[in-house]
């Protein structure tokens, strides 16, 4: 695999855009990323487009009808919450393999009010859904149970999870692209209504609409366009390997651990080398698990890590300086590209008041239930 660089990134503020169509959101982000890279659609040789809810609607081609139809190959990608980051990785692979020199990756989603309750436990006999009768296959319960596993194993408390939400909401106030920019106290988070114990309302990411885009080039070509190419040091995709309870309680840990191990090896770094992490905090419980899954701390130490503020901006390893999915929002297809965009902004020193000072290496992690995990490591 030859070296691949990110030359342009962008995202639009996540939120609700009921007056727009999803490809318009994607087109908006794409144009901004092209401008950031200093290129036009005429320079792009392949496009990948991540969208989940309208996966059959050829969203990538519809975006190109808005911004430039040059007849290039377009790959439409659906991979649950890892949809956008998988599209990014397809663009990376296209260039890394030597087949193309310039690629555009776009992630877009319009969720309306449907949100994370989609994708239930499958149909039952007699035309009645087993959801709510035979447990729950919906994300709030699954991530509640995944958090409960950590409680059972290490004595982690609901307050530990709540502190994650407090941190991310605090980070969000400096991110103009975040759907919500509201600081909250521990009491606010703990006293909010419970969605699926142990997660309360403010420990669950909002649903919404949004788009993000990235322009990738071979490192050789990137140097013709910018003096600050951001190297993609690793781009890894895993699915869930067999584990004892995976078919009942989706295992969000093992595939993240596998992806992290491969990413660190490929990039030639250790977790300690990371200056910032954007990870998949779809629920506060998830972020805490991923501290250990990504090797940011030892086994069972995630609770201590949040207690001691190690993952706050200014701490040992800032996590979710963007405010995370909890505040920034989680338009499924856009999320993975937006995480990469955030990391790139920090490595370029363009993250404004939330800037992680001197950031040189950053990691973006996404997990889609069912399951798909991507980890992208970016280096200055």
């Amino acid at each position: 695999m030859r070296d691949v660089a990110i030359v342009g990134v962008s995202m639009i503020k996540f939120g609700r855009y009921p007056e727009k169509q999803v490809h318009e959101l994607g087109a908006q982000a794409a144009l901004l990323a092209l401008k950031d890279a200093g290129v036009t659609m005429k320079d792009i040789e392949i496009m990948t487009s991540g969208n989940l809810y309208q996966a059959s609607a050829m969203v990538g081609q519809r975006i190109l009808r808005e911004i430039g139809q040059t007849g290039i190959p377009v790959i439409n990608v659906a991979n649950a919450c890892a949809t956008g980051s998988t599209a990014f990785r397809e663009a990376y692979m296209s260039i890394g393999s030597g087949a193309y020199d310039t690629a555009l990756a776009v992630g877009s989603e319009q969720m309306g009010k449907m949100g994370l309750l989609g994708g239930g436990g499958g149909g039952g006999g007699g035309g009645i859904s087993p959801e709510g009768i035979v447990g729950s296959g919906l994300m709030p319960a699954v991530f509640g149970q995944a958090g409960a596993e950590h409680m059972r194993k290490y004595g982690t408390t609901q307050e530990h999870f709540a502190k994650i939400a407090v941190k991310n909401h605090k980070h969000s106030i400096h991110n103009p692209y975040a759907q919500y920019q509201v600081e909250m106290s521990l009491e606010d988070v703990m006293n909010a209504r419970v969605i699926a114990w142990p997660n309360t309302l403010y420990m669950c990411c909002p649903t919404g609409d949004g788009a993000a885009a990235a322009v990738l080039m071979s490192m050789e070509k990137a140097k013709q366009y910018t003096t600050t190419p951001i190297k993609v040091a690793a781009s890894v995709l895993t699915s869930d390997p067999w584990s004892q309870r995976d078919l009942t309680l989706p295992d969000v840990n093992t595939l993240t651990r596998n992806a992290a191990k491969e990413a660190y090896e490929t990039a030639g770094i250790e977790p300690d080398d990371l200056d910032l992490v954007e990870l998949h905090d779809c629920f506060a419980t998830a972020e805490l698990l991923h501290y250990e899954n990504l090797g940011l701390c030892g086994e069972g130490e995630a609770g201590r890590m949040i207690d001691e503020g190690e993952t706050t901006i200014g701490g040992r390893i800032p996590v979710a300086p963007s405010g995370g999915l909890l505040s920034k929002g989680h338009p499924l297809g856009a999320t993975g590209v937006a995480n990469i965009c955030e990391v790139v902004w920090h490595l370029r020193g363009q993250a404004g008041d939330r800037q992680v000072e001197g950031a040189k290496v950053g990691l973006a992690h996404v997990i889609g239930l069912g399951s798909a995990c991507t980890i992208n490591v970016m280096q200055k």
Binding site: G124, G132, I133, G135, L138, P140, W242, T248
Partner: protein
């Protein structure tokens, strides 16, 4: 269990999920069934085409799963999809055969203080729905053993 045929023409009991087996005649206990890989011993809920642990395609052994297990973890769901009553306890129960099952825990108020990781639970079945043909839809649920 309902009687096999009480004259309500064609009225049947239908399991809500395919791995719940209802008794063939009145008085038979319902049970969950699973399959066991004859190569590596991995166990699964319900039937399977092949073993996802070792990839063996040899025929699986059909196994009858215990109706007693232990509560692995749970969540208390307070908000769900439209039409689904809340709150309720959404749990993962481990059965001694090495199989985990997703289920509701009934018989306790849905509050974390009433539930303990590892507590013994037992399965029971009940009618949860009548379909448009008048068939009874039967679901399995779990409850704490002797209120422990």
């Amino acid at each position: 269990m309902a009687e096999a045929d009480t004259g309500t023409a064609g009225k049947k009991e239908i399991p809500i999920l395919p791995f719940l087996r209802l008794g063939e005649k009145a008085g038979d206990a319902a049970y969950l069934f699973g399959s066991k890989c004859t190569s590596c011993g991995a166990t699964y809920l319900g039937s399977r085409m092949a073993c996802s642990k070792c990839c063996s395609t040899d025929p699986m052994e059909d196994i009858r799963l215990s109706d007693h297990g232990e509560l692995h973890v749970f969540s208390i769901v307070h908000q769900s999809a439209p039409g689904i009553p809340t709150p309720y306890v959404a749990a993962i129960v481990d059965l001694p055969e090495g199989v985990s099952v997703r289920c509701n825990i009934e018989g306790v108020e849905p509050d974390p203080k009433n539930l303990k990781f590892g507590m013994p639970v037992e399965m029971y079945t009940e009618k949860v729905h009548t379909d448009s043909d008048g068939n009874d839809i039967i679901a399995f649920k779990f409850r704490p053993v002797n209120g422990k």
